[in-house]
Symmetry: D2
């Protein structure tokens, strides 16, 4: 078992300055703590609740920023692609591609993304049972791509709420793909603010600790120097200046469970 | 209040013969019962559980069949489009476009479909609260298209199960868009057969009666002369030869509620 | 199939005057519409969210009121009993006993109530699958009591919300027991007001119409001349002066489905 | 923060021999690992799915066994009481009383149990939001009893399934009562075997690790030397001979989170 890796960054590319600064800070923190880092940011939020919400700088400008992050900060970069994204252009810049949860059942899309050959982080739909992710992984692997990751980000629980089933992490391990837990989207309250999704930032540490102890390969967390001012998903982002204390606990938990082994296996 | 209309047909275009025969039978039945009919069939099932499942004849062949149905049987036709469908080609053949439930939050996609100018049946995601459909309708209408319908097809209820919230029909009426209830996908058991979705055909009449009495503009039902032999969604299709008895009841219920008015308003 | 019967009344016995007046009004209305009526009111709300809420007049005073209703208004009466109710005293006054949803799995309690020999309306727990009610019915019938009814009142759907599964009505019919739909508790928002349960009165007609069209033997509805002033469950009570219009629609729907038959059988 | 305590034992008192042996083994293991132990076993399973299931030896015989465990093995003992249990007799034997999840809203019952003056472990109903446990705790404390614990054991998630919301543990901490996670009932599949409840024993370690990392005062686990032969709840019991490895991991996790502190506070 490898130690925990981290996928982190601001939800959306807000500005070049924010991207570079947050990447730098995360890089130094992760280097110090010994956590492999993949920097994440979106260039386009293609599925905002409302058409009025900020969507990002667009692909061209966004990729330019991610390229600078990658080159100047020296960290690998992941971004999410959508049903109408020109995949080649994105794949030529980033290190890992990510597919949105809502699109996990779109066979063509999943296969077009996997066919790019980069590692792909497949987010599990909020409507999908964990054992049904095996079909999504199979579709992706059928393209010949063996670098597939699966990511839990909560499952529908009544209206405007998600719940995180820790059993799902163990179930998805059986795909053989590294399992990632998305601790910030899992505390979203979808549509919970009427015109936008709300979030319960205060539960990010609770779910992150639980998931790491349940046993995961990686953790996904959106972070921002000032979450209340973030242009997307602020209510569920974890403050950048509180990342160190949280990561320290998570690393210690990860070490315990990976040393002691999973009793369920 | 207009009387109930029906959207019906086999889930997928299996063959020209099946399409023409089922369209003819539905046309004659609906004419006799006084129910406006829109014939529905898919040319491509883009989001099957497994990559091994039958997906349909493809767009070109499928559209040829739908065009014959339209011209020779003389009924309007609806089909569903996907994230990578050439919309113009489809829009030039059919009368109504339909967007899949999983894609209801993809802003670009919804707006590209609405921008075709045809009436659009927007299926509500299995993960969406009914009041959040107002944002989807707003996105579609922002293109200038005023012929938007909304369609309930069940909401996630635990794993591998959907539940139909009859309150949702009343909530979605407030969008001003005609509300359609999809009585056959609502009895799907998503992923319930392991490699494919199961279904509870026996509950189609129960939910259809309930929804019509709750008050809807239209009813959506997939039907097949031999559901057990259907190439897609057979477990939840309603047998074509039992459509008459079911429709007769539904029409009578529709008449009662529309004559007496909705006490909740 | 017998025509629909109605179980109705104010949630709790607030005063003798209210009880007699509401019973009289319901009796006359139901006689006019040809609906068999069972008058319902509770003497003790044993499971309020908070210990501060009004619980009712207590058993002795409550039973005196119910006895007057029964004798002077001439309608049969049902009331709910609890884990510590002296059952004999209640059974000597009322015509039907009702068991609370939360207590549906308490074997001794269910059997003690059924052993009283009166008809028993068994409410299905908010946590129970409809097919699991068969075990509850079996436990009740094991006492020799064959007059068992089963009642749907919504199932847990996320937090502080219930959803009504119309399939459950068809599933529970298979117990052979008459199926009752509780249209007012089904729109409760349990705990939804913080210290008490909220309710969505506006959806009572929607769910009542849906359930009657799905097919039930009886309908349960709490009603009050002034729901906003009711001492218990006001948010989900249906106004007494709007009962006539609602019942008229429901009777017409019931006639349609019982004449035409259930296509699912 | 105190280190983790353990409530454990076979679900039901099957025999004096089993009770004494399992208590002895748990006592020695917990002494070695430095975990405070409370031995748990039921004398009567009052809410089995079916009336045919084994219910236990009854109160009198069961209490005799628990008394021997307490005296001869020298461990404190907890047992669950029900709506019709003579509380005084039970309270005179055991150290802690436990109230069943289904009964968490029965005000009289909760208050009668709390009034016994012993510490009470209040199980949260499968239908209750975690923030609504505050009312249950308030009712219990209103009797003057300050030794109240709250216990999470899963929440309804569709039919025949429970899901464990790790956020609930943090929410319930706000009552000020020590929070216990029941790792074995949380993997029950209620009614999932048709006539009895099923269980997913393999997920006990996953949920136990997650809950301890989320942060709890105590852990509840039913255990049995031969779970497949257990007379109650075998499918979700954790094997006694695998308790050591599991506990070792849990203790290490507990130490990490309690040393590092909860970032959410």
């Amino acid at each position: 078992e490898q130690p925990l890796f981290l996928i982190a960054g601001p939800c959306v590319v807000e500005s070049e300055a924010l991207a570079l600064e947050s990447a730098l800070e995360l890089r130094d923190l992760c280097a110090e703590l010994g956590v492999p880092l993949i920097y994440k940011s979106s260039f386009d939020k293609a599925n905002r609740s409302s058409a009025q919400s900020y969507r990002g700088p667009g692909m061209e400008a966004g990729l330019r920023v991610l390229e600078r992050v990658r080159r100047e900060v020296g960290v690998p970069v992941v971004t999410d692609v959508h049903e109408d994204t020109p995949l080649d252009e994105v794949a030529s810049v980033v290190d890992v591609l990510q597919t949105p949860a809502f699109l996990c059942r779109q066979t063509n899309f999943i296969q077009r993304v996997a066919a790019c050959g980069l590692p792909v982080n497949l987010k599990k739909g909020q409507f999908l049972a964990p054992w049904d992710m095996t079909h999504v992984v199979d579709k992706a692997r059928a393209t010949g791509n063996e670098h597939i990751l699966v990511c839990e980000r909560g499952v529908s629980f009544g209206y405007n709420n998600l719940i995180s089933d820790m059993r799902a992490l163990a179930v998805m391990r059986q795909t053989g793909a590294p399992v990632v837990f998305d601790a910030t989207h899992s505390v979203q309250l979808p549509g919970g603010q009427g015109h936008a999704s709300g979030g319960q930032r205060e539960f990010v540490p609770v779910l992150a600790r639980a998931a790491v102890a349940a046993g995961v390969s990686g953790l996904f967390m959106e972070t921002h120097p000032d979450p209340d001012a973030a242009l997307s998903d602020g209510p569920n982002a974890w403050p950048l200046d509180r990342m160190r204390e949280l990561l320290a606990t998570l690393i210690a938990l990860d070490r315990v469970v990976k040393e002691q082994g999973f009793a369920e296996q």
